[in-house]
Amino acid sequence: MTEPPNTLLEELLLPRLDDKAQKFWHNARTELAAGCNKSRFAALIALASRYCKRRPLDVSHIERERISTAIPGLTLDEWNLLELLRVALICGRNDLTSAQFAEDYEAQFVYADEGETCALYRALPFLPAGERFAWRAGDGCRTNMLSVFHAIALDSPYPAKHFDDTAWHQLVMKTLFLELPVWRIVGLDERRSAELNRMALDYAEERESAGRSLPIGLWLCFTEHDKNRLTALVERHWHSATAQDRKAIVFGLVRSGLHSQVHTLATSESDAGVAHVIDHTLGGQTQQIHFARLVTD
């Protein structure tokens, strides 16, 4: 890390706070730095809502660079201002590595409202010895609240770094199931596996049986571990697929080492956009960040 997270958080925060909120922040920071008990810690997190609303952060390009330099993989584009203040409060404690902090942090989840729960989870990538909270984060993924799941699963390097295989596979599959953008699961490229490949293939067949379309991000989850099943899946879908889906399928094939199939498909491809993606993926642009551009452009 090039700069301590506290400095970064405060520098992101301050220009976005009005006078009243700045005063609250300065007082709270002083209080936290001096050490405060569990109930005061909880009160500060709750009271933050009186000073900040859930407004978008509108992260600038320069800020985005600083964030990803400090914590690779992290983006705050979907955080709101209240969440940023709350995460800054959590990280403002002077004892983040202590057992007392771990106990107090865990205790917050019992009384947390929806917004606080999201903020507590958004703090994870900033916490030292993050492995202490792996069970908590995995349990958080069992939520029914999409906002909470979103806060843990997407745009954060935490799960890929700390989840065991079971929790990781469940996270990816639940993201697919909820039709959230799988390409925003940080570390998906690196943590694909034979088991995840099987789950994704099974899920594809389950969707086919139910007469449902395949979520576009599904194609990012495949690997070279079962080329026959993947080839068969592509054969069932390619001819009826939209141009956008064909682009995604191409990613799936190249990422699974099925270059020759892509070359074959390329010969009959009439859509310029798909042909373009074929060229780029065969040229090595097969990562989830490339896929993300495909979806957002």
Partner: protein, 298 residues
């Protein structure tokens, strides 16, 4: 028309209700903490209930484009289990100061026992200490006396009358509440409380100032569309549009926005279903005409 139902127990209602409410123009609700239809047996039950009011239920409402606020409090019925009530009161600071908690409530009297009074006073004091609005549940039996006592005790503790909402009023109690300077809320609930027709006549007689219409729909036979249905009946019966808007939207907003816990600017924006918060396969019906059936019978 847009509607605010400032008293409805959504935890007991289905997603069909949420869909119908959204379709009928209900844009915001307040869910007061109450009992569960049977007494709780331990404090953990209060913890999970309060947590669901600020967590899961808030999220559930957001899926339908409905803003969900709540009140936190220990209700009058369960105040009579003194040991448990004391434990539950200790939870107040943990939940009452959360985002979107617009009042302490619903608190007050059921049988007007000393235990109820103690719990009521304790919570009024908490509200005064934290500059909060209070939502008062008034008793079904011995109502008029209960209303008067609720107001007197709130005044004694120091609750400013403009931060006091007295709920479940009827023709016999409305004047006392208005005279005190408090807000008078009416529950349109079939059989036991108020009906749409009587409500219409009350607005005609007393005018719209400080009068609030709600449904108090819960796990009993009740109607989550009471507010829009009553508004529709008021229209039919020639009540001023401005009076309808006050009693079915603005007064509730003015009363509870005093908490600072309603992001009014956000609420006044056209409702948008956040695409990241949809159900996996369903979309929510939007922009239809209000679904209006029969007004609730007296």
């Amino acid at each position: 028309m847009r509607f605010f139902d400032p008293h409805i127990h959504m935890s007991s209602r289905t997603t069909d209700d949420y869909q119908n409410m959204a379709a009928a123009g209900i844009r915001a609700v307040i869910e007061p903490a109450f009992w569960m239809g049977q007494p709780r047996t331990n404090v953990g039950s209060f913890i999970d209930y309060f947590a669901s009011l600020v967590g899961w239920e808030r999220f559930r409402a957001s899926q339908f484009g409905i803003a969900h606020y709540c009140t936190i409090g220990v209700n009058s019925k369960e105040a009579n289990n003194e040991g448990l009530a004391r434990e539950a009161l200790e939870l107040l600071p943990q939940f009452a100061l959360k985002e979107g908690v617009v009042a302490i409530g619903e608190i007050g009297y059921d049988e007007m026992t000393p235990a109820e009074e103690w719990v009521y006073q304790h919570q009024l004091q908490f509200a005064v200490d934290h500059d909060m609005v209070v939502m008062v549940h008034t008793p079904h039996r011995d109502k008029k006396n209960g209303v008067l006592r609720s107001i007197d005790v709130a005044r004694e503790v120091g609750v400013p009358m403009e931060k006091l909402v007295i709920d479940h009023n009827n023709e016999e109690t409305v004047q006392s509440v208005l005279d005190a300077g408090a807000w008078a809320a009416f529950t349109i609930y079939p059989n036991t409380k108020m009906g749409s027709e009587r409500m219409t006549e009350i607005v005609r007689q007393y005018g719209p100032e400080r009068i609030i219409v709600d449904s108090s729909a819960d796990w009993g036979v009740s109607d989550p569309l009471s507010v829009p249905k009553t508004a529709h009946l008021m229209q039919e019966r020639g009540i001023d549009q401005a009076a309808i808007e006050l009693t079915c939207w603005q007064n509730a907003l003015d009363a509870y926005a005093q908490s600072g816990q309603i992001d009014v600017e956000e609420l006044l924006k056209a409702p948008v279903i956040d695409q990241s918060q949809r159900f996996s396969e369903n979309s929510v019906l939007r922009g239809q005409q209000p679904r209006i059936d029969e007004p609730v019978k007296n």
